[in-house]
Amino acid sequence: MLFYLFRRIALALSVVTATMIMGFFLFFAGPGDPALNLCGDNKCSAQRVSDIRKSFHLDEPVLRQLGDYALGIVKGREITSGGFTRPCPAPCLGYSFKTDQPVTGILLTKVPVTLSILVGVFILYALIGLPTGVYAANRRGTSVDRLIVGTTQTIGSIPYFIPALLFSLYFTIIHTWVPRGQYTSILDNPVKWASGLLAAWIVLGIYGSTGYTRYARASMVEALAQDYVRTAQSKGISHRRVLFKHGLRAALSPVLTIFGLDLGASFGGAVFTETIFDLHGVGFTAVNALSTSDLPVILGCLIFAAAMIVMMNIVVDFAYGLVDPRVKIA
């Protein structure tokens, strides 16, 4: 088991490293120019642009920049920008070209925002999506089942940003029935934390639950069709016990996989929600950094998102063994 864990961690690190390298080269292959972005339109002299590039070490060979960056993550480094030298302790993800703040610090302020959104949303997935799917599977073929499936498909077919924008506009701005989106640290004020996230939780929670409803239903239907379930039923075990003890446990595995991967991916990708509800998390920060060619922030967000995905992969694999006794981790 321990060997398996080490093997998975090593694999995860190689994936994150490969992502970092790819991101680095893609940035330089693309059309963005941080120096020009900082200069604005047309107004910097060629010398000025050159000075800015030099201050960000963008005039150095790409491989050297990559090497310095990678080493900084492991050992930390000193970053010289203009005439000033600043320390950047490990894991050093550099300083933002635009805001001149350490990227590690930026991520430390943005991750709690994204995490706060996801905590509420995934609780709603579990509370709404899973039971609804199980219920539909249990009533398979009935009008209730058709209603649930039809509703989830209808909701799921509408692009997310439409209900999100409409909800934000009519429920939080024009009529303040739900508090406006804003982030307050849970440590500062738990009530304000929850109320500022409520709108995002409601919209994304309900919207995303539709997918989990369908996953859970499909998985449950398959599980209930298994021989061992039929055996349990023929032995006279109560339907409730068959459903939850035998059926659900087996049905949970695929749902858990999706749950874990979805959670990992969401850390870097809740862009619409963060933008619409004015919650400046990792996704919002990454998109902003892309528009200004802020390489250190782009890479920092990319590495973070990749790390979360691979980490959740590992967690899900281990959780499999706990949930499904047929699976042995080795």
């Binding site: 604005g40 002299s45 000025r48 703040q101």
Partner: protein, 583 residues
């Protein structure tokens, strides 16, 4: 002023800023948006005898929190490195300078700030002397000294360590081109400024600069004690001398200002201290922000936004609209142009281009609203003192163009099928849309058109090349003056000296223009205005290097608890220093 100063204010394209006319207090009562025409009387003058306190604002109350929410975020709040208008507004609240603009009755006038007057010029025009008002303090209670201003100016020359600021001090102050700032040249003496005593600042010029009193209103002239200079960290909390001081600053996110207890209202002719707190929220999506302000629920009622009003909200805030009282509009220092390379396009062809130019169609394509522009007829913004409105060569700044007449003009000049070429950004919707309109209009007028598309970052480099293989739209797409005088407009973009810098509009190399620039620049500032106006007209009438497109207008949208919102036409943003809020 660089076009970048304007672009930095809005992430959504053309900036519009507002000038106001009439009493701001009337705005809320009458339901009218205030608006001044793009032209009209001089909107800035010298008021050397102005003394504090600033003129009273009727009905004003102290207290409460004013929130300013807008789309972009300041790159730096270091006074030495600042060159953006939104940052100017912020630093005007916290950092006093030698002189300052004060908005009075809709006009922006230059008044003494830290100094007792607008400076004394020596007979040889190479020395400016300012005396400081006595007893002025920083937020920590220490006295402001002349040496602090000298240090601040020296620090503004450290372009490598503190990039981004203007370069006038390099060009006009003695030693400006050789002195590299107090970090690199600590052992050197800077000959451009000295403080013979604690209350006197003397500037030694490398060449005359009649507009120096205007320049002295820049944040680079706000005092910085050398002992308090923490270099690249100074941006996080510049030492305040104005009515407000930094309480907290999260770069890119928000800034909170609170009252500075050591600010002396009686010494300040330009500012007030009404709200207890002023909160700046950066990087806010303008559409929900503006929608919320118009709804004026909760904190939105005491919020102001100065991004261009979104087209979806325009009807609500136009005169007669339900929310018209929540908008102030007016002039900005910015004018947009469509430039033609005078080296490659003959004058007769340039005149035909002007006749064919599809102003209205371009505005429709880029989504310009009536709040965001006024038709431009001159190179200089209309409110610059001394500007006399004129229309030459049919440059009315509006209309659909006349392709038939243009075609005839081309034929008469023997230039039928003359090729026009330009760059445009394919990844910028407004650029792509505008490009299509121009292509159609000029093709209908008998031109051959070659539009070269590219990604924005690439196009930016190309339009700055003086010898690019195109003949239109090179150089700056507009110009915002640094101060309301023609020497901040014509020389930086029309003189032959700027040909190789990527800043030339039309690539003029006209001897008369150059000699007029030199002659007018040497005149007393009070006499320069009409001369620049005459030169502006001459350039457009005789040389036609560019088609003036729009005088940008500014918008300030505010909640129904915000009062006394007035526009500063020299900044192109609301003047925050006199705003008060209901609690």
């Amino acid at each position: 002023m660089r076009w970048t100063k304007v672009v930095a204010l809005s992430a959504v394209g053309a900036l519009s800023l507002a000038a106001c006319g009439g009493s701001p207090a009337d705005n809320a009562k009458s339901g009218k948006t205030t608006d001044s025409s793009g032209g009209g009387p001089a909107s800035s003058a010298f008021l050397p005898d102005a003394v504090g306190p600033a003129p009273a604002v009727s009905g004003s109350k102290t207290g409460g929190t004013l929130t300013i929410a807008y789309a972009s975020a300041p790159q730096t709040l270091d006074p030495s490195a600042n060159y953006y208008q939104d940052t100017n507004v912020i630093l005007k609240l916290t950092n006093r300078t030698l002189t300052v603009f004060s908005v009075r009755d809709g006009k922006s006038v230059l008044v003494p700030d830290l100094a007792t007057d607008l400076g004394k010029l020596s007979a040889d025009k190479l020395t400016w002397t300012f005396k400081l008002k006595p007893g002025l303090k920083y937020e920590d209670g220490t006295l402001i000294k002349a040496a602090d201003i000298v240090y601040a100016v020296e620090r503004s020359l450290a372009h490598e360590e503190l990039p981004g600021g203007p370069a006038y001090q390099d060009e006009f102050l003695k030693d400006g081109t050789t002195y590299k700032g107090p970090y690199k040249d600590a052992a050197k003496t800077f000959g451009g400024a000295e403080a013979p005593d604690d209350s006197t600042v003397v500037f030694h010029m490398a060449k005359p600069m009649q507009s120096f009193p205007y320049f002295a209103s820049f944040s680079q002239f706000s005092p910085i004690p050398k002992a308090k200079d923490n270099k690249d960290q100074y941006t996080n909390h510049p030492l305040a001398s104005g009515p407000y001081m930094f309480k907290s600053y999260n770069k890119g996110e928000n800034l909170t200002l609170v009252k500075n207890p050591n600010w002396d209202a009686k010494s300040d002719p330009a500012r007030h201290q009404f709200p207890d707190t002023i909160l700046f929220n950066f990087a806010k999506d303008p559409i929900p922000s503006q929608t919320a302000i118009l709804a004026s629920n909760g904190a939105d009622a005491s919020t102001l936004n100065w991004d261009p009003v979104d087209a979806s909200l325009v009807q609500q805030v136009m005169p007669g609209g339900a929310k018209a009282s929540q908008l102030v509009t007016g002039a900005s220092p910015c004018v947009e142009y469509f430039s033609m390379d005078t080296r490659k396009i003959p004058l007769e062809v340039r005149k035909a281009i002007a006749v064919a130019f599809p102003y209205d169609q371009i505005r429709k394509a880029i989504g310009a609203t009536p709040l965001s522009y006024k038709p431009a007829t001159s190179i200089s913004a209309a409110q610059v003192p001394g500007m006399t409105p004129f229309v030459v060569n049919g440059l009315t700044g509006q209309g659909k163009g006349d392709p038939v007449k243009a075609k005839a003009m081309l034929a008469a000049a023997g230039k039928a099928d003359f090729e026009l070429s330009w760059y445009y950004s394919t990844d910028r919707p407004s650029s792509a849309a505008s490009n299509e309109v121009r292509k159609q209009a000029f093709t209908a007028a008998g031109f051959k058109v070659k539009a070269i598309g590219g990604l924005r970052a690439d196009i930016r480099k190309r339009v700055a090349e003086p010898n690019a293989p195109v003949n239109m739209l090179q150089g700056p797409a507009g110009w915002c003056y640094d101060w309301p005088n023609g020497d901040s407009i014509i020389p930086p973009i029309m003189g032959s000296a700027v040909l190789a810098t990527g800043q030339s509009v039309g690539f003029l190399t006209d001897k008369k223009v150059d000699s007029e620039i030199a002659r007018i620049s040497a005149l007393d500032v009070a006499k320069q205005g009409p001369e620049w106006s005459t030169l502006d007209k001459y350039i457009l009438e005789t040389l036609l290097p560019t088609i003036p497109f729009s005088y940008d207008q500014s918008n300030a949208l505010f909640g129904n608890k915000v009062h006394n919102v007035v526009n500063d036409p020299n900044i192109g943003l609301a003047d925050i220093t006199g705003i008060w809020v209901d609690q």
